[in-house]
């Protein structure tokens, strides 16, 4: 196999699509996985916990 310009263009145009789509779906699944819901809610609120009395 020759690693020339055409090889890399072909690679980018085929596998590039698949790995990026796979990554996208991975990120969406992670974000919407029901078990993660509580962890995310907690994280979003955690930065406010220390806020009591800090400022109006």
């Amino acid at each position: 196999m020759e690693f020339d310009h055409n090889f890399f263009v072909g690679f980018a145009k085929s596998y590039g699509l698949f790995y990026m789509m796979a990554f996208f779906f991975g990120a969406v699944v992670y974000a919407y996985w029901p078990a993660n819901q509580e962890k995310f809610d907690q994280a979003a609120k955690s930065i406010l916990d220390e806020d009591e009395g800090a400022q109006k």
């Binding site: 990120a27 974000a31 406010l48």
Partner: protein, 546 residues
């Protein structure tokens, strides 16, 4: 500063200062016949000055052993002040450059003050001096609070902060001396680049080591953005600056790349600098300080995760839109254009997330100029990411490229988004850091807000007008098929817009001066008698290794 270091750390600090002095001396001696010698002298002088500071505090009593149960905020405090000083300096130079385009005689016949040298002083000063220090300062603060852990080291935060500022100083003084690698936003030469790599790796290691001691199971999303900023900027900086110096005694070097490969590498770097320096890190700021100031959790935590991966993966491919209609292969241009258009999705997801967080707290936005800064920043972030995607479309680019429209777009992003979110973050952060009840003057925050906003709007509108006029004049044909206007014709048309731009820039500069004054005066106010409990993290279960 020194009193917070143990005796051992003071000794290490002295060794580092001595090494810096020796490195500077070596650079100065081998480069004595070149402009390189000046930078050797600069580093040697800085090393000696720092050595003096450490020695003066060397025999101070050891710091309170309890300090490891507290957050380490001294580097953040210094970073905030230094960042605002860079802002004042660099927007002053920026406005000078703006006036140069109206009155070209304002160089006063000196070489160092020519447009070509002052412009990179302005861009480096605002992006790296102001933006970089703001990112380092806020990242240290956010990292510790969201991890509920102290910074993993007492000396390395200072290495990062002082080293980074020495790099910035070498950069801006180098331009005035005539040193440049001729790569936009990557102008410093090889020795300064290597220096920055050392500083940046220290920064990355410090961040990872502190995250490793976190007491929260989940890493808050702001840290993802800061970490992406640190990691990707390291990759970009190293690859784009691969170069061979003509000799170790000369500042000049030649890039490892040539021709279209050089151009592509440069704009892969350039656009990702926009993405990871000017967007990712500042989004980290937004995801922490905006919810805190509004007193509401982020509207959708899930959306912040999805837009994080969207921004991180899509931006990597967008750089080639800077090279439309060039020798770059057509499909690479199309690739960059396509990814730039898709980018509007995660960008608007972030901007929308910020605005929806504020939805229901509009009375706070109305009353609190600090929160209003962050609100305006989110609006400008949405506007300029849409504009950027639009300008990346090839036929639109044929009108906008090389015109002032690009300059207007950049400033909508830099003034409207980057600077506004930073001001909002600083005004939230400063009273917390110094244990003050509030900022010195809320009226001065109001004044700063309106000066910054009106300055930005005047600037951006002036550049939209001049950019489109330029673009249309350059492509206008006369009946006989020749160009209707000469370049100088279009230049003459620009004068009123350049005048307006310089006025807008002056207003923005003035706001920065007020901001620095307000922050400085806040540090002079009496501290709260009983510091709020939120500033003390829970005691470590295990003694952190120091």
């Amino acid at each position: 500063m020194i009193s917070q270091l143990t005796r051992d750390e003071r000794s290490s600090a002295m060794i580092l200062c001595a090494l810096l002095t020796l490195f500077g001396l070596a650079l100065g001696i081998v480069g004595r016949d070149d402009v390189l010698g000046w930078h050797g002298a600069l580093l040697a002088f800085a090393g000696l000055a720092l050595l003096f500071v450490v020695m003066r505090g060397y025999y101070d009593p050891n710091p309170d052993p309890d300090r490891i149960t507290k957050y380490y905020d001294d580097p953040t405090k210094v970073g905030v002040i230094v960042s605002m000083m860079w802002l004042v300096f660099a927007t002053f130079v920026g406005d000078w450059v703006a006036w140069l385009l109206v009155y070209p005689e304002l160089t006063f016949d000196a070489g160092w003050s020519s447009f070509g040298r002052l412009r990179p002083v302005h861009t480096t000063g605002v992006i790296f001096g102001f933006g970089g220090n703001a990112l380092i300062a806020t990242s240290f603060h956010v990292l510790q609070r969201t991890s509920r852990a102290r910074l993993a080291g007492n000396l390395s935060p200072w290495v990062v902060l002082i080293g980074f500022n020495l790099f910035c100083l070498m950069a801006v003084t180098g331009y005035m001396l005539g040193i440049t690698a001729s790569k936009e936003y990557a102008e410093p030469e090889w020795y300064a680049d290597i220096f920055l790599v050392v500083v940046w790796v220290t920064y990355f290691a410090l961040y990872i080591r502190t995250l490793a001691r976190r007491q929260e199971p989940h890493i808050y999303v702001a840290n993802w953005y800061f970490l992406a900023f640190i990691l990707v900027v390291a990759i970009l900086h190293i690859v784009n600056n691969l170069a061979v110096p003509v000799s170790l005694a000369h500042a000049k070097s030649y890039s490892l790349f040539s021709g279209v490969q050089d151009a592509m590498t440069q704009w892969w770097y350039g656009h990702n600098a926009v993405a990871f320096f000017l967007t990712s890190g500042f989004l980290g700021m937004l995801y922490y300080y905006l919810p805190r100031r509004a007193g509401r959790p982020i509207f959708s935590y899930r959306m912040s995760i999805i837009s994080f991966w969207g921004i991180t993966f899509l931006y990597m491919w967008a750089g080639s839109h800077h090279l439309h209609y060039t020798a770059l292969p057509h499909w690479v241009q199309t690739l960059g254009m396509t990814f730039s258009i898709v980018l509007v999705v995660p960008s608007w997801a972030s901007a929308g997330n910020a605005l929806l967080t504020l939805n229901g707290a509009w009375e706070k936005v109305r009353d609190d100029a600090t929160l209003r800064f962050m609100f305006v920043a989110a609006v400008f972030y949405g506007l300029s990411t849409f504009e950027g995607s639009f300008m990346a479309i090839r036929p639109v680019n044929s009108l906008s490229h090389y015109t002032d429209w690009t300059v207007g777009h950049v400033h909508a992003g830099a003034l409207g988004w980057v600077a506004m979110i930073t001001f909002g973050a600083f005004y939230t952060l400063v009273p917390m850091l110094w244990n003050r009840e509030r900022m010195y003057s809320s009226r001065l925050i109001e004044a700063h807000f309106w000066l910054a906003l009106s300055g930005t709007v005047i600037y951006v509108f002036a550049m939209w007008n001049s950019g489109i006029v330029q673009g249309l004049m350059w492509r206008a044909y006369a009946e006989d098929g020749t160009l209707a206007y000469s370049f100088i014709d279009s230049l003459n048309e620009m004068i009123p817009y350049y005048f307006a731009r310089a006025v807008g820039g002056f207003l923005f500069f003035l706001g920065g001066v007020i901001g620095l004054y307000n922050i400085w005066m806040t540090t002079r106010m009496p501290a709260l008698e009983d510091p709020p409990v939120y500033d003390l993290p829970p005691v470590f279960e295990t003694e952190p290794a120091e």
